[in-house]
Amino acid sequence: MTRRVLLAFAGVLLLGAVWELYKDLGPATGVKVGELAILPRTTDLAMPHLWTILDRLGQPVSSLPGSLPLVVAVLQACLVTLGIAGAGWGLGVVFGFLLALLMQAVSLAERAVLPFVILSQTVPVIALAPLVVGWGAQLPAWQEWMSVSLIAAYLAFCPIAVGVLRGLKSAEATQLELLHSYAAGWWSTLTRLRLPASVAYLLPALRLGASSAVVGAVVGEVSTGTEGGIGRAIVEYAQASGGDPAKPWAAILGAVAIGLVAVGVVALLGIALRRFRRWEVAA
């Protein structure tokens, strides 16, 4: 376990070293093959020094007296977004699961609905945000963050529905026949066989759903103008990037941190479900 953590840490350090080395040695205009930009520019604007970013994290957010260190402000924003994304993920899991169950149970539903589950993700949030915000506001007790959670759920449900459906269909023919021979009903087959057999698909689906929910929460905040979260910070910090190139990286790091926490929660779930992953090659 400690070896695992150390290696992960070494990986991050290695990436940092590559970053600095390239910034030092690479051309300011980046590496191009013909018109194709292969490697990035190395200007301070494009690739600030890592220590600049670290240093910036310790400085106050703005010149206002009493403003918090950037890292604290980012962490606060992360917590807000994490809550919103968490709610969206939960909703996405419930909806994605129900949809997958419907598609598994009724093959016609699968054939009719699955393409739209996939296609739903090609509708940009910009087209949906006005609808979500507008309709949400008609409901009593609707809060602004709920719109953002709904957008997060919208992005999260697709990979979950697709993954769970695949998982539910992954049970082996011989095992299905066994349950069939027991005259097991749909529900029994689901709980005794399909669900346990689906775990290998379920975990990446939940994980993708978690990162999609985070992306959705961030995009939703940007799109709807919900304040306080990391999405808003990304926009706000980007505006200062010309004179303060390290600042937007703080927000990016924050967004990544939320995603990692979300994925970590799913990983814990994976440990809890170890029993169902006996075939998995240890890695």
């Binding site: 095992q175 026949e177 066994l178 027991y182 005259a183 005794r192 066989l193 006996r278």
Partner: protein
Amino acid sequence: MSDAVAIAGVTRTFATGRGPAVTALQDVSLTVAPGEFVSLIGPSGCGKSTLLRLIADLDQPTSGIVSVFGKSARQARLDQDYGIAFQQAGLLPWRTVAANVELPLDLHRVPAAERRARVAELLDFVGLADFAGSYPDQLSGGMQQRVAIARAFAEKPSLLLMDEPFGALDEMTRERMQTELVRLSAETGAAVVFVTHSIPEAVFLSDRVVVMSPRPGRIREIVPIGLGPGRERGEALRENPAFYAAVTAVREALHGDGAVPVGVENR
């Protein structure tokens, strides 16, 4: 009282995408009386498993009728009139040995206490009491097969369908299981349809042995054995001249008129 199994003029062909369809069974008719023990024997690929699957309603005949206890095969399956053990153990890898045996009881809402008692009894019967908490991947091939056998017995069914259940067992265990199986089926009055490749096994167990011929799978001959009621069959029987005679009869039925060259059943 209606037959345990009644198969009338059943044909089953498989489309194979490219190439001609494979006729696994052609015009097969067979009845099994309640409490009767019938073995199916025949060359590899002759349709034994297919026939068993039709009885279990895991597959449907292309033509012909299968009925079980006077009902359709489907109804019999829904009524849970049979227990089945497949050619492959087919255990659920995420369930322990005990939980695998418990599966049918669990599905049919047998109370927990009764379930536990029954599972313990069954694991004792197949000699795996020590492995109740192990997972299938921690067992040897023969041990897995024994778990599947225990599972088939779990509900004391009135019809047992078994596809080469003892194939992976050593001789001693196998003979013990054979003796137990005959005793159990006699005691409970269960009919058994049993697929095997072993002529002595078929003879020892059965009231009748059905000898099949391959491609298309047909019943070549049905050999009545008549070694007396099951409950009286014991180890001594294996040394009995009547036993040897029956073995020879089945062997001859199987090898046919001698015109079929060895191993050419597949051409």
